[in-house]
Symmetry: C2
Subunit: 396 residues, 2 copies
């Protein structure tokens, strides 16, 4: 007979979900109220405004989609890509590839711009493709590739898009709240994210923000959006202004409580401070790894501070280390995907989990779990190197 589920104690340092703040968990457990209750409608308004803060945008259509990041991705693509539309999709990891597949399924004519995994999107290559396909409706790209830990130049891509008169669809699942993201300043058009990365909220919602340009393109569609569930025109009538809301679907009420609280936590800290914290903990962690003889996959210029792709030394068995990390130390780290399986670990320092404690815990646990490797020294040097980064920062 099944019993109530008591989750094992974990520290979530994989590619997401990240550790959720007790404040967010407590918010999630408050009693459910109706999705048309005036008090809930007020909460929705606050969530919209807090999301505008997080995305740095004034876009009216800034809401959480009632599904995971993948639903947000599909929402943006389904609304912007009509059958026959030409779409350039930048692929430098799993999630770019997923965008391309989705755009094809929606009837788009997809041109893939491939960059090696672990590298950012190549702007010169993108510009060539824009010249070759002058009728491109949208460029789709991933700001922070969760599968590799590489950051692409979202501002540069958006600027190219404007020069060539195309829209942008940006995956910011792992970037929102962790590194600078300026939706309005960079003029991004259809932007989606997730709650379970640097917002440190429970997984299940996908914040999206849609520019006026993108809305005009959606209004000019000649085919209805194939997904009724994700049709922005319908979703907006529920998330619209004022007390009058048209029923579309039942909002995941408690998940919205949680997102509201996670966004409050972010605003109390301040976006810039959150970005700086992610950067500092990354630097300490990187220094510690280096002192222990461990290298990162991504070049320093393009590294995501919130997601470290660590090369697995040749004499170390991926699965054994990850299992020991999980069962002996209660620390979850992620494995590689696709060609990177067995070659990297993906170690997240995201949101609530981006703190010195976790840096020290992870370095010492890694050293213990890799004791058999010739390449790895003890944790002592790693911990000292990480500490030195914090000390230097505190003096600065």
């Amino acid at each position: 007979m099944e019993r109530s589920f008591e989750p094992p104690q974990r520290i979530l340092m994989g590619p997401g979900p990240s550790d959720v703040s007790p404040r967010v968990l407590a918010a999630m457990a408050r009693p459910t109220i109706g999705h048309l209750d005036p008090a809930f409608v007020e909460l929705m308004t606050e969530v919209k405004s807090l999301l505008q803060y997080a995305f740095r945008t004034k876009n009216q259509l800034t809401i959480p989609i009632s599904g995971p990041g993948t639903a947000g991705m599909e929402a943006c693509i389904a609304n912007l890509v009509e059958p026959g539309d030409s779409v350039l999709v930048c692929v430098n990891g799993v999630f770019g590839g997923r965008m391309a597949t989705m755009a094809e399924r929606m009837g788009g004519v997809v041109h893939r711009i491939e960059s090696p995994w672990g590298e950012p999107i190549d702007l010169a290559q993108l510009e060539d493709a824009l010249k070759k396909h002058p009728k491109t409706k949208a460029i789709a790209f991933v700001h922070a590739e969760t599968s590799t830990g590489a950051r692409s130049d979202a501002r540069g891509i958006a600027s190219l898009a404007h020069r060539y008169g195309t829209l942008t669809i940006a995956d910011t699942v792992t970037s929102l709240g962790g590194i600078p993201l300026e939706v309005d300043e960079w003029s991004l058009d259809a932007v989606y994210s997730g709650t379970q990365k640097c917002l440190s909220c429970t997984p299940g919602l996908s914040p999206v923000t849609i520019s006026e340009r993108a809305l005009s393109a959606i209004r000019a569609r000649t085919h209805p959006v194939v997904s009724w569930f994700l049709d922005f025109g319908l979703v907006m009538s529920y998330w619209g202004e004022g007390q009058k809301r048209t029923y579309h679907h039942t909002a995941p009420v408690n998940a919205i409580y949680a997102l509201h609280e996670a966004l409050l936590v972010l605003r109390e800290e301040g976006l810039e401070k959150a970005w700086a914290r992610h950067q500092l903990n990354h630097e300490a962690f990187r220094a510690g790894l280096a002192a222990m003889g461990l290298e990162l996959l991504v070049h320093a210029d393009h590294r995501l501070p919130q997601l470290n792709a660590v090369r697995i030394p040749a004499d170390v068995e991926d699965a054994i280390v990850r299992r020991a990390m999980l069962y002996d130390f209660g620390i979850e780290i992620g494995g590689g995907l696709g060609d990177l399986t067995g070659k990297i670990w993906r170690i997240g320092l995201m949101g609530f989990a981006s703190n010195p404690r976790n840096v020290y815990r992870c370095l010492s646990a890694l050293a213990a779990c890799m004791r058999s490797s010739k390449h790895v020294s003890t944790a002592d040097e790693g911990l000292a190197a990480a500490k030195a980064v914090y000390v230097a920062a505190s003096r600065a």
Copy 2:
């Protein structure tokens, strides 16, 4: 500056969400673990088996879709309806209409079979349509119309479908856990539900179960499913057997904790007992309403015990009463939709909220809020009539 959200105290007696058990809220607030954590994978297996219990099925593909009931509806339609497929959609309320729209957007050739709102689907009319459209791939229908409170004969529809060699797509959002639903015995094919009605779980997930016949039809598709997010072939590889799961999207971990607990609560009570409880509380409520001079929209043969569509007396103002119910008594009841706006209230007695306390509370609050009406007596007779039903039941 926004503050943490403290929801007002409510008793949820609308068309859903229903009151969530404190056990379920507590489960939801347990610390998030990774969606690929072995402990979570075990939990997924338990959730599948508990859903099989609730649906009365052995279908292997019995899982919660990571979105609200509307996402489950779209998943079933997107996977079963290919462009050009002929689909008969039974429409006797809002949700049948929604299924028709979705099937059209997926490229289906939709024939609507309309029945008046508040009445069940007419089997003779359905059979005529099956004769007229012999190449029908699927019949789509709503078992329990949340917009009207009418129950349709799901077994009869499924039996017609088999006689004419078509599949069935069944909306059981409001029926699952509240009235008999026998997926295997009736041979239903693609069945979706919601968590926030008679399961008394938080809203946000959509349990689905898919028969082998439906899976064969999906495997025989000539076009890929247009929705990557809802493609059962991909979703199954994540929810499949054993420890090996292919990553598809990040599961809403805490929502799955909540669903697991809600299903445990259901199994501890027992499905038949839950059905009987919904029936008894409905009978007491109906007796109370009748004694107070209030009538139901739906004929006794087709009434849903979990959702009572109460006719609003001519001299009573819908909005004023609902507002007083909400603000003075903290009781949420639902208004009518479409043509029934202002004509009915939808009063739910669902899941955890289906209990004598709520019957008494609602009857007395309704009487107080309608005191100005000539048609409504005091609550005294209503409460006595309800009590008489409980007393008779306890003696039986």
